[in-house]
Point group: C2
Chain length 239, copies 2
Amino acid sequence: MSGRFFCIGVGPGDPELLTLKAVRCLGECTTVAYFAKRGHHGHASRIASAYIPPSAGQLRFEYPYTTEHPAEDRTYTSALTHFYENTARQIAVRLNAGGTVGLLCEGDPFFYGSAMHVFERLRAYPCVVIPGVTGMAGAWAEALLPMTQGNDVLSVLPGTLPEDALAAQLAGSDAAVIMKTGRNLPKIRRALERAGRMADAVYVEYATMTASRVLNVRDVTTPAPYFSLILVPGWRQRP
Amino acid sequence: MSGRFFCIGVGPGDPELLTLKAVRCLGECTTVAYFAKRGHHGHASRIASAYIPPSAGQLRFEYPYTTEHPAEDRTYTSALTHFYENTARQIAVRLNAGGTVGLLCEGDPFFYGSAMHVFERLRAYPCVVIPGVTGMAGAWAEALLPMTQGNDVLSVLPGTLPEDALAAQLAGSDAAVIMKTGRNLPKIRRALERAGRMADAVYVEYATMTASRVLNVRDVTTPAPYFSLILVPGWRQRP
């Protein structure tokens, strides 16, 4: 009799944005697993800390790299594959012993989440995926910025796209969210200008956390941290 | 001293997918407001019912139409404008009296939500927007379908778009969510075929609710209800 595997979305940062289901399932876990950057407290584990049963075992998985590399970097992708395989194996040991393992996921597990790599390797076990509030939803709520209405097309774009692709995607959408800003900010700005969307673009960092900031993209002077994104609202016929 | 206005995302359907913050804020409301279709129990109010304080007043706002009309229909849009203005006015009366009013929103308030129309008219009051789990996140969790990873572009598309536009958007994205299926299903199917995405497309109805169903789009034989959408997953390099 193998145990159950929960992929638990813990939301964008504010611990109050956990769902009731996330809290209940966390309470049922015999092991709680999470990812962390080397030298950092895991972000997902910090968000959920108040709801992790003191009796639960913890599995901390430290990413082999501290920054994202391009997918063409074979050394990087093979290190990550090895990392996710090892993660899945360690969780499987607990599941095979009948344990209930919860893997914590920032935001929503299936929306650009690391947990997907582990889920794919463990999907033969009884799995429950608990959806979460995404970082982008936390950001537009924080910015008090209504995003999409009626027949709007929304595009979620990685800021790593080439400038031409970004500008074309922005021109072909009513609303957009641009993730992975960081070093890509100057290029994203040029794409926003070309698509004529600079004036409405809003930059949000650390949404729903105490350090949160909302700025017009034009006014961003500091380097963009990992927890930042850009919102281009739709609903251009608003009253 | 005016009161506070909460736009409260109640998630996709399962009452356990309310956030802790939604539950806490609901508990502080002196009035709970919600939209409903004529002759129907309001869906958002049913989701949140266990958390509405018995002492709170309730404001039910019945949509003037039971189906959505095209934006070109002037009689329809002017009836809706009048409806949202009246809704905002009735909530403002409570806010002016110092009350705390929570407006319930299915999914997330700022993601294709009716509450946006009311929020825009009341934003001069102290407002808090509580993000929620979207219907699409509920659907991909239910379908156990990882959606986006790495540098994927995700497009959220209304099924009301013309077939050519749908096909072009699908071809230009790694992942897509198609909303407003209903009568648009035959057209959406043709667009999926043209974009070569029919084989992976998954249809989900009543996600996170007891009546939920997950099917390959090809196998849908019944008319699509309002609570249905189509998921085209990205992450095509998955292990």
